[in-house]
């Protein structure tokens, strides 16, 4: 038997004509626009303290309900007066809406990213196990079907109401309804991969199951999961805003876009700025993430191109 390995010349390797995924990503308009918008929101949340000298939770009764552009005087801790401009006006407690909007980006991004990471991690684990072990599959998938039948918003609201309103509770409550969607996706990939010849080959040479899952199955789930995770991030930010807006989310003094809007509801007809400014930032953030997701899907998973 000839076991000698022939040397391969450089020019013998057939190079693919397709550009690398990174190049295709960088050329995708959706990714460019979405990535640009998202970077702005990300920078805004990271450098919130540089963008405004004001504390988003500072209450100032003499400056209540002022329109955008209002110039007022404040006193610092030493009693010195100084001028401030409320670029986006103030709310019913005299808090600066601009400062609240800028700091609000932090909560939105924390919730979006945390929910995406948690639901993808938990969902992938359950999906791998369910897809690979038939006896777990039946039980787990029935449970997931039941979980998916409960409208996400009601499940999240009830979970927050029961566990008490806090950032952690909101993150967990929003992750729970997203998990079944990840489980289904991962499971369907596992079911198709486990029939592949290379998995059969791995089994036949005695590779332990956890290694098969780790080396052969998991890598196939990465691109779809990046896409799915991006969309989860966007919908989590929306859901957090809805929970806060309905008064069942993060405590009202915390600056979140939903809380600012909830606060502005009563005086909306006279002072619409308290709803419109956070609304614009919320919409732009979700738009940026959805565009990123669309672009990622088209480049990473060409089968899905143009599908909804």
């Amino acid at each position: 038997m000839n076991t000698e390995v022939l040397p391969v010349e450089d020019d013998e390797i057939v190079k693919s004509n397709k550009p690398s995924p990174w190049v295709r990503l960088a050329k995708n308009t959706s990714v460019r626009v979405g990535g640009f918008l998202f970077s702005i929101i990300l920078l805004m949340s990271l450098f919130a303290s540089l963008l405004t000298p004001l504390d988003p939770t500072d209450i100032n009764p003499s400056n209540r309900l002022k329109p955008p552009g209002y110039e007022g005087t404040l006193r610092d801790n030493d009693g010195n007066k100084y001028q401030v401009t409320a670029r986006m006006g103030t709310d019913t407690l005299g808090r600066d809406i601009y400062a609240r909007v800028v700091y609000g980006a932090r909560i939105s991004l924390i919730v979006g990213i945390a929910v995406a990471l948690i639901s993808v991690a938990v969902g992938t684990f359950i999906g791998l196990v369910a897809g690979y072990f038939r006896w777990v599959d039946a039980i787990v998938m029935r449970f997931m079907d039941g979980l998916m039948a409960i409208p996400a918003i009601l499940l999240a609201i009830s979970l927050v109401a029961l566990s008490g309103a806090s950032l952690t509770a909101v993150i967990i409550a929003i992750s729970v309804p997203e998990i079944p969607r990840v489980v289904r996706l991962v499971r369907s990939i596992v079911l198709s991969i486990r029939e592949e010849p290379y998995v059969e080959a791995a089994i036949s040479v005695g590779t332990p199951t956890y290694l098969i899952l780790w080396r052969h199955v998991l890598p196939n789930t990465i691109s779809p999961l990046i896409v799915q995770g991006t969309f989860i991030c966007g919908s989590a930010i929306l859901l957090e805003a809805i929970l806060s807006f309905l008064g069942v989310g993060i405590p009202p003094e915390t600056p979140t876009w939903g809380n600012i809007m909830a606060e502005g509801r009563d005086f909306f007809q006279i002072y619409p700025h308290a709803i419109f400014f956070p609304g614009i930032f919320l919409s732009l953030t979700v738009l940026a993430i959805n565009m990123l997701g669309d672009g990622l899907r088209d480049t990473l998973d060409p089968r899905m191109e143009g599908k909804f």
Partner: protein
């Protein structure tokens, strides 16, 4: 077909049973005494004992669950802690505004989105196509309450064409009923227009390359007939599917829209019940919404097989 139908209907039972288990355990598995959680911070120990007795918490978990399921099957969802009325009667009082809003929304969405999506596919790559696709990404991203407030501000506060908020039962006049539903339904329909227009475009595009479309054109049918009779009809299955997905989105949209437009439907009832820790009402509403969701998906599966004779089970 009949066997499939029966199998599919029976499959609803385990799903609803699991929903019931989840809803039931959610309160019981929360750390702390469920009766104390329901009673809130200001409750006395007598209040807590009363609630414990009403919930039947002294019985075993299995007993409680069986009793609860049994009552629900008989149409008894328990009594609201807050309103001191049966949950069933409250739901039947508040279901009409929600049904009206949901139906009107879906009608607006289909009437706008299906022609838009078809046109976009027909003129693929044109400015119309690009506008429709661009707007649909935007439609997914702008939350319904932001759209709602923009519509209220422009059409009710500034232009004074519509009332700002509120609802009028159909019994008090059909005109006023529809008139007050226009703004909330339009706000809620945006996301569905985005969803349905996109799906329509994709599935019509796929169909347009088929041989039978060429045949239809070759035999001299007008473009309108080709598009409606041949293209749309064959593209219908994915469109119906997306309407099914939309129902889940619709339920959450209804809760938010009712809150923005102060419509006394099931959505506002849900928020009130949750804020008032009215657990029997919350349980009943979640069961009802989940049942509707499962039921509509069942209906859609059945419609599939009717729309597309190739799908046989």
């Amino acid at each position: 077909m009949l066997v499939y139908l029966i199998k599919r209907i029976l499959a609803v039972i385990p799903v609803m049973l699991i929903v019931a288990v989840i809803v039931f355990l959610m309160l019981r598995l929360t750390p702390g005494d469920p009766a104390a959680i329901i009673a809130g911070d200001a409750a006395t120990s007598a209040d807590i004992d009363l609630i414990r007795e009403k919930l039947g918490l002294e019985r075993s978990l299995i007993e409680q669950f069986v009793l609860w399921i049994g009552n629900m099957l008989g149409g008894d969802f328990g009594e609201s802690f807050y309103y001191k009325r049966s949950v069933t009667s409250m739901i039947s009082d508040r279901i009409w505004p929600t049904l009206a809003l949901a139906t009107f929304t879906i009608v607006i969405a289909c009437v706008v989105a299906v022609p838009l999506g078809t046109l976009a596919a027909y003129k693929q790559g044109s400015w119309l196509d690009r506008t429709v696709m661009g707007m649909s990404v935007l439609g997914f991203s702008v939350p319904v309450f932001v759209i709602g407030y923009v519509l209220i501000y422009v059409f009710a506060v500034k232009l004074d064409w519509f009332p700002v908020q509120g609802y009028q039962p159909i019994a008090d006049g059909f005109g006023g009923f529809i008139y007050r539903l226009i703004l909330p339904s339009s706000a809620l329909s945006v996301i569905f227009i985005a969803l349905i227009a996109r799906m329509t475009r994709t599935s019509v595009l796929e169909v347009l390359n088929e041989d039978y479309i060429r045949t239809a054109r070759a035999k001299g049918l007008s473009e309108t007939k080709v598009m409606t009779r041949h293209a749309l009809r064959n593209a219908a299955v994915p469109i119906v599917t997306v309407i099914g997905i939309a129902i889940a989105v619709l339920i959450s949209g209804v809760v938010v829209t009712e809150s923005v437009f102060v419509i006394p439907g099931l959505g506002t009832l849900t928020i009130d019940a949750i804020q008032g820790r009215d657990y029997p009402t919350v349980q009943g509403l979640i069961m009802l919404f989940s049942f509707v969701y499962v039921l509509i998906n069942l209906v859609i599966d059945v419609i599939y097989s009717l729309l597309d004779p190739r799908i046989r089970y």
